[in-house]
Amino acid sequence: MDTYTVNYQEWRPGLDVPYVIARIAIDGAPGVFLTSNVVGCAVDAVQIDDRVRVTFEQHGEIYLPLFEKTG
């Protein structure tokens, strides 16, 4: 996890806040980042440099790459 922010603003009605937005640096692909969410842990349990692994969330035919902390 290269960096992150915890979003508290309810940008639209029903948006479930707070949540973690993170910039994920991809192993083996220097200079490539994905903006995603870190899920499966409390919002105050994330830190820069945390190692995360991908987990896919299905929306119909679309699979969103989200991330969760390893270990």
């Binding site: 960096t3 992150y4 922010t5 508290y8 603003q9 639209r12 937005i21 994905l34 903006t35 989200l66």
Partner: protein, 386 residues
């Protein structure tokens, strides 16, 4: 001094407010009139128009008046004009105008930025909101993860400063506190009440580490700068302000693929185009749509090292109106309103002419830096009064 042979002459600004009823075209005209009056020019002497981002049809509040429309409305015979979003942020419109007068394409160019975002929110039938039910372009990489606002994208850079460089909330607060203190001395500022550290620290979080007071707010206003050619400044009655250097460097035009915000390469490139050094600068007017951008600009422009911006502004004395490097003397966007980039250039000119009134910095300032953007796009101008 290497110069670009372009000058900012008249500057003007409309009423600045929230949910104004006056139309955006009339606000633009108000700002044009003020700029013409200051310069002692008549409309028939204007032969160019430059703006950013042009008419924004998908979201009119963001930019309701296109260059074509203004040319028509004012009866300008334009020998050169330009208006579009794919430029190095808002003040890129001034860079384009400076290059146009240098190339002999026009003599006096109206550069303007009109914003109507607050009025648009309150009158959605006239000014429909931006539709967000589809995601394409860059947004397809951000919207699905509810990274919905520029505050989310900027906050991630700010968080890196918190974690890597130890930037504190009290340090970051100095941008908003300085802005609001200066805005209290600016009759046209949107928010005229000073902000206390206690109020800042108890404000609700928007996107960590940025709280409510780290964000500008939608504003209705128009700001105009006239860019004039070297061989035309004998026609103006105000003190011409020379554009000594300009920069607008983009590395990765994407909020999430750039390791560093664009203010860093842009700031470095500005100094390659001038004999001035940061120590020559009397005041800085640095884009602060979000407070952290001003900190990043201080670093990118070399006023302090990378990661040292928090310490640089600590306590606020250094960047205060009577400090060694007065910052955002009109209140920045956080205090004076979201004029969207042009307010910084307007204020740099006001200060260099000694016209700041209650907020005028002491010492007869002659060199200023003003900037716009800073995230994926950035523009910096070095202005000098010879």
């Amino acid at each position: 001094m290497p110069g670009t042979d372009a000058f900012i002459t008249g500057v003007g600004q409309s009423e600045v407010g929230i949910r104004l009823q006056r139309s955006p075209l009339l606000l633009t005209l108000d700002a044009v009139r003020e700029a013409l009056t200051e310069a002692g020019l008549e409309m028939r002497q204007i032969d160019g128009v430059s703006t950013y981002p042009g008419r924004s049809a998908a979201y009119l509040g963001f930019s309701p008046i296109g260059a074509d429309e203004l040319i028509d409305a004012l009866g300008i015979r334009a020998t050169w004009h330009s208006g579009g979003p794919e430029i190095s942020s808002q003040l890129g419109a001034v860079v384009a105008a400076a290059m146009a007068v240098r190339a002999g394409q026009a003599r006096h160019i109206l550069c303007y930025r009109t914003v109507y975002e607050a009025a648009a929110l309150s009158r959605p039938s006239e000014y429909p909101a931006l539709r967000r039910d589809t995601a394409d372009g860059y947004s397809q990489w951000l919207t699905p993860f509810n990274a919905l606002s520029a505050v989310n994208w900027t906050a991630q850079y700010a968080m890196r400063h918190v974690k890597r460089f130890g930037m504190t909330r009290e340090q970051l607060a100095q941008i908003a506190l300085t802005d609001r203190a200066n805005a209290s001395l600016n009759p046209r500022a949107l928010v005229r009440e000073p902000l206390t550290m206690d109020e800042y620290l108890s404000a609700r979080m928007i996107s960590t580490p940025l709280c409510l007071y780290d964000c500008d707010r939608y504003t209705d206003a128009s700001t105009v700068l006239i860019v004039s050619a070297a061989n035309a400044i004998n026609e103006v009655v105000c003190t011409p302000i020379r554009i000594d250097a300009m920069a607008g460097t983009v590395e990765r035009h994407s909020w999430d693929q750039a390791q560093w915000m664009a203010c860093y390469p842009t700031g470095a490139d500005l100094w390659k185009r001038t004999d001035y050094r940061p120590s020559d600068v009397d005041t800085v007017q640095l884009y602060d749509g979000f407070s952290f951008q001003a900190i990043a600009w201080l670093e990118g422009l070399g006023f302090c090292g990378v990661g040292e911006g928090g310490q640089f502004v600590e306590g606020g004395q250094r960047i205060a109106l009577h400090g060694e490097l007065p910052l955002n003397t009109f209140g920045g966007q956080i205090g004076a309103g979201r004029l969207h980039g042009f307010g910084f250039a307007h204020e740099a000119v006001v200060q260099l002419r000694g016209k700041g009134g209650q907020r005028q910095i002491p010492g007869n300032p002659s060199v200023a830096v003003c900037t716009s953007g800073g995230g994926p796009l950035a523009t910096a101008l070095l202005l000098a009064r010879d």
